[in-house]
Symmetry: C2
Subunit: 260 residues, 2 copies
């Protein structure tokens, strides 16, 4: 079984840490680095929870999986917790990454300071467009995709980033896997098929916008009051006149919309 999420492991846990906790550890780490920058030596679970945008009970539970319980009345030692989370995430070593697809997005990613500062070194950039090969971006020459195997082996690369158009993404994923890459970060808006043992995470730039539109619609419904919430209103004007109905809604199943 494979897909665009890490495969589900026994009880959704890896190394004794639930997947959902793993996904929050980078958020805690970022908040802790910010606290360290302001000179904080210790932090309470409440403060850290607010900084990370979660509730404090969940935070304490998550950190307990790392053997971190804090000290009553003092909280957590910031530098110790940074070390513990960094080691749990495998960030005590620097990972070499290749990036394939140097369009606007790939260009932005190649120059993204947040990769290097968090332990990821872009070892090489690749593009299928022969005309781009040799162009220098963020201190790296763009190389042809045919050099992928050699670079992955020479630079000991285990992680590949795909920022190609969707149509090319699966072929690129296949080539990455063939070259020996075992983790893929996919920015193309498509689902990748990969063999067992390869992890894929997807960053969908529009997905989060769709979650926000859910909340915007809900807020508009609340503003309208209970009588405004019906099949007609939901397709009508909300915050203004710039409303273009997408696929024509079916009147006969309008009652099935959640919250109706």
């Amino acid at each position: 079984m494979s897909g665009d999420r890490p495969r589900i492991r026994a009880a959704g846990r890896t190394r004794g840490v639930p997947e959902a906790t793993v996904a929050r550890l980078p958020v805690y780490l970022r908040a802790l680095h910010a606290l360290a920058d302001t000179g904080c030596d210790t932090v309470s679970s409440e403060e850290l929870a607010v900084a990370a945008g979660v509730n404090s009970a969940k935070l304490r539970k998550d950190l307990s999986h790392l053997g971190s319980y804090g000290t009553r009345g003092v909280g957590y030692e910031v530098s110790l917790l940074v070390d513990q989370i960094s080691r749990a995430l495998g960030l005590t070593q620097r990972w070499a990454v290749v990036l394939v697809g140097v369009g606007n997005l790939g260009h932005a990613l190649a120059g993204y300071a947040g990769f290097a500062s968090r332990g990821f070194r872009i070892a090489a950039l690749f593009d299928a467009d022969a005309e781009r090969v040799g162009e220098r971006i963020a201190g790296l020459d763009i190389r042809h995709i045919d050099d992928l195997d050699r670079v992955v082996e020479e630079e000991q690369v285990s992680i590949g980033v795909i920022s190609t158009p969707s149509a090319a993404a699966q072929e690129v994923a296949d080539r990455l896997v063939e070259a020996g890459v075992t983790s893929i970060l996919n920015f193309a808006p498509c689902v990748l098929q990969v063999p067992d043992g390869v992890d894929v995470r997807k960053v969908d730039l529009a997905l989060e916008l769709q979650i926000l539109s859910f909340h915007e619609q809900r807020k508009a419904d609340i503003a309208k009051g209970p009588h405004g919430v019906n099949g007609t209103a939901i397709n009508g004007t909300m915050k203004g006149g710039a409303v273009t109905p997408l696929p024509a809604p079916r009147v006969d199943d309008a009652r099935e919309v959640v919250g109706q």
Copy 2:
């Protein structure tokens, strides 16, 4: 209470749909659109689950919140399910979005076809750099941030995208909120403070990489076998020699690393 996640509502539900389900609906929608493109009229929960990268029990539970149960032996009607999810997500109307910060990333986002195809129209681009104002990107002129209030009102904008450096993000968020924006998509690697009633979602381009490094480390541990997994090995060479220890690990708490 506010932060970089939607505030926690009663029982983590909005409009009767759990937050976690809301977050998966765009994934289902994307998979359904891909199926529709290949001419599929119906889809089984198993097929759709594989395409979306979740397990089928979770998929059926999620869709039941929308009143969609499928038909035994047939599955779900693709076009009907697309309509139901689109309406649940508020995508039956087109949302106007402003984007603030037109560096490499903002440039990539301005040209990202995935926004328009999923119901989001970029109404205006803003930058604080007076020299960029007037530059034309993706069919839009870059405007000065001082025009924000007027544009948000005129274009009935409720969603703002922040792609500025971290240092500017909170000020931009404040200005967006002041102008009347009630949902923010934040690409800057920082936590934003916003008032009640404003939803913030964050896209962290490096966060997913850190989750992958967790899995890479785990795979390397498994490859080494149980005797190789100790405080020394975890900081040693894994796939090769290009390993730079980050903050020096503390030997005295090495035993606290998960999985040790």
